[in-house]
């Protein structure tokens, strides 16, 4: 019953978002492609209480990195700092290089495998942005783990079967 426009048109159940690939979260607990940015939070290597908020804007490729209190990252000296590099590397692990490149609107080219390599292909420039939006998204992200488990039936989840066996 599919028409000429493609097999997905009349399917109710299909995987639109591939499941996130497993990665270690210790260094970069949070990465997302949202709000028109690759953005996330990188744990400080020296201070367990401190985190850096890093982002790269899709299209313009403006980047920024600061502490969550908006103190600029000392590593930004005319080029992306090591936090941005970690962020990009982990984003590629989680989403795959193609999805990150498509979202940032950059040509990944052949042979680009890591986030650092992808960053080097950007015509990037530094542009300060507020850490608040990203950091509050991170806190909301963490808050999901605070909700208690529930026995409420969610019939809508029949549209979202778990997939990815044997990956």
């Amino acid at each position: 019953m599919t028409d000429a426009d493609g097999a997905a048109r009349r399917r109710s159940v299909l995987a639109v978002v591939p499941p996130a690939r497993p990665r270690k979260l210790a260094k970069v607990p949070f990465v997302e492609l949202a709000d028109g940015r690759l953005q996330g939070v990188v744990s400080s290597g020296s201070d367990i209480e401190r985190v850096y908020v890093s982002s790269v804007t899709a299209g313009s490729h403006a980047y920024h990195c600061s502490t969550n209190n908006n103190r600029p990252c000392g590593g930004l000296r005319g080029a992306p700092c090591k936090h941005l590099e970690s962020l990009a590397d982990e984003a590629v692990l989680q989403y795959g290089v193609d999805r990150v490149a498509r979202y940032l609107r950059v040509d990944a080219g052949d042979g680009t495998q890591t986030g650092v390599e992808l960053l080097s292909r950007l015509d990037a420039r530094h542009e300060p942005t507020s850490a608040a939006v990203v950091f509050s998204r991170f806190l909301r992200h963490l808050a999901y783990l605070e909700f208690p488990a529930s026995t409420t039936v969610l019939p809508e989840l029949h549209w979202f079967p778990s997939t990815g066996a044997g990956r």
Partner: protein, 464 residues
């Protein structure tokens, strides 16, 4: 399930199914382009949708809504009428298909008993209605970063209200897909049926009507619960485990097909077998699932075929082989109808036992006495031991009969197979108490404990 039953399914397609599907497809295409400016083709499609419900109580509202949409002044109430009409058509499709399946299987189904009362108006639902309205005006092709960032408000509000949890989980799942699809105009294939399904369900859940989550239990049950298999649902921020089982009531009434559902909120980086650890509040249930044991349940609240799990009112009992349970009881156990607003072909999930089949196409289809049935290999969860290879090597399968895109499928929940000339058995819930496959356990250990890392971060950063 027998070959003759499959043949009966194939040969008795409900009347009007294709027509209903075409009407729905017309609406779905209109939603791709959005309702801000409706072209002639989409106006015709919307008129057809209103026409399809003309003889029902929705008829007048449907016709009025189409008039408003085509005139370019669509309000939230008109979208509700259109979502209602689409839902009614797919609900009728669900009923016709399930009736056909029940007839083929000889399965008795207890009718739905009305419950629930109108909920109080909620700010979360109002915010959701407004976002869904804007989305419908923009159409999927018009969705941008700004609109997707705006979904945060209704999601956050809905998460804060336990009775709006369904809405929150739905919006989160839809928004994540739209985000991944941006810009939609360059997507090779826009999943228009799927997104319209989610949009329409969202619009209905966002109405201040009967509150589905606060529906009170209509009865209490005591008896022996014999597990059949586990269906796992998951998107970035939610996981749900649905155990299909047969209840033998203590009062010696007829055995019933029931479901037990437990779920948790999560984040995208928690997946695979780690999701079981989010359900540690239900140790008795998880142990029974992992060890394939029967459960004695005492005075458990129930609503139709759904048992509301209370871990303290259950005890894991003797080993109970799900295949044996299915062989002995599945043919006679009675099912229960689901609430009308939840009816949609995706909700069809009927447990069946398939035996003595021939596998085709690497597990993508099975052949029972010359009758083929497609296998939903893309519904094998990463949180369990089933793989396409095991399904391909199988000779018996416990599964759920599903319907999608005009065809019946079976979703495996457990298989008995022969691997290297030895019999093996795998069930979706085998890892509920921890991964039992050393290779998978090692891979899990390599990527570290995501739950623990995020909880540590939450502990340090959240309560400031």
């Amino acid at each position: 399930m027998l070959g003759t039953q499959l043949a009966q399914l194939r040969d008795s397609t409900p009347t009007g199914l294709t027509d209903a599907d075409d009407v729905v497809a017309g609406f779905d295409d209109a939603l791709l382009r959005g309702f801000a400016r409706v072209g002639e083709q989409d106006a015709t499609a919307l008129t057809a949708l209103a026409g399809a419900v003309a003889g029902t109580p929705l008829g007048e509202r449907g016709a009025e809504a189409v008039g408003k949409v085509t005139a370019g002044s669509v309000g939230q109430e008109h979208l509700a009428a259109l979502a209602g009409a689409r839902t009614a058509l797919l609900g009728a499709t669900h009923d016709a298909l399930l009736d056909q399946l029940d007839t083929a299987l000889g399965r008795h189904r207890t009718p739905w008993a009305p419950t629930g009362e109108a909920g109080d108006p909620s700010p979360a639902r109002a915010a959701a209605r407004s976002w869904l309205h804007e989305t419908a005006l923009a159409g999927w092709r018009g969705v941008d970063h700004e609109l997707l960032s705006a979904v945060g408000t209704p999601v956050e509000a809905a998460l804060a209200e336990p009775e709006s949890r369904r809405l929150a989980v739905l919006l989160d799942g839809l928004a994540a897909e739209l985000r991944a699809g941006l810009p939609v105009a360059t997507m090779p294939q826009v999943p228009v049926r799927r997104w319209a399904d989610l949009w329409a369900r969202g619009v209905l859940l966002a109405q201040d009507g009967p509150a589905p989550a606060t529906v009170t239990a209509t009865e209490r049950v005591t008896g022996r619960l014999l597990p059949l298999g586990v269906d796992v649902h998951e998107h970035e921020t939610a996981v749900q485990v649905q155990l299909h089982a047969i209840l033998e009531p203590a009062d010696a009434t007829a055995p019933r097909l029931v479901r037990v559902t437990v779920g948790a909120a999560k984040v995208a980086t928690i997946g695979g077998p780690a999701v079981w650890r989010l359900l540690s509040a239900y140790p008795v249930l998880l142990t029974a699932i992992a060890q394939r044991r029967a459960l004695a349940v005492i005075d458990l609240p129930a609503q139709g075929g759904d048992l509301h799990w209370v871990d303290g009112q259950a005890q894991a009992g003797e080993p109970a082989d799900p295949f044996a349970t299915a062989r002995v009881l599945l043919g006679t156990a009675a099912a229960t109808a689901i609430p009308p607003l939840d009816r949609h072909p995706v909700a069809i999930a009927e447990p069946v036992l398939l035996e003595g089949y021939v596998v085709h196409d690497g597990g993508l289809a099975v052949d029972l006495d010359g009758h083929r049935l497609a296998v939903a290999l893309d519904r094998l969860p990463a949180s369990g031991p089933l793989t396409p290879a095991l399904v391909a090597a199988s000779s018996s399968c416990l599964g759920l009969v599903r319907w999608d895109d005009g065809r019946w499928l079976v979703q495996p929940l457990a298989v008995q197979a022969t691997v290297k000339r030895r019999p093996v058995e795998a069930h979706n819930g085998d890892w509920a108490d921890g991964v039992t496959d050393p290779k998978v356990a090692k891979a899990e250990a390599r990527s570290g404990d995501a739950v623990a890392v995020l909880r540590e971060r939450a502990g340090r950063l959240l309560r400031r």
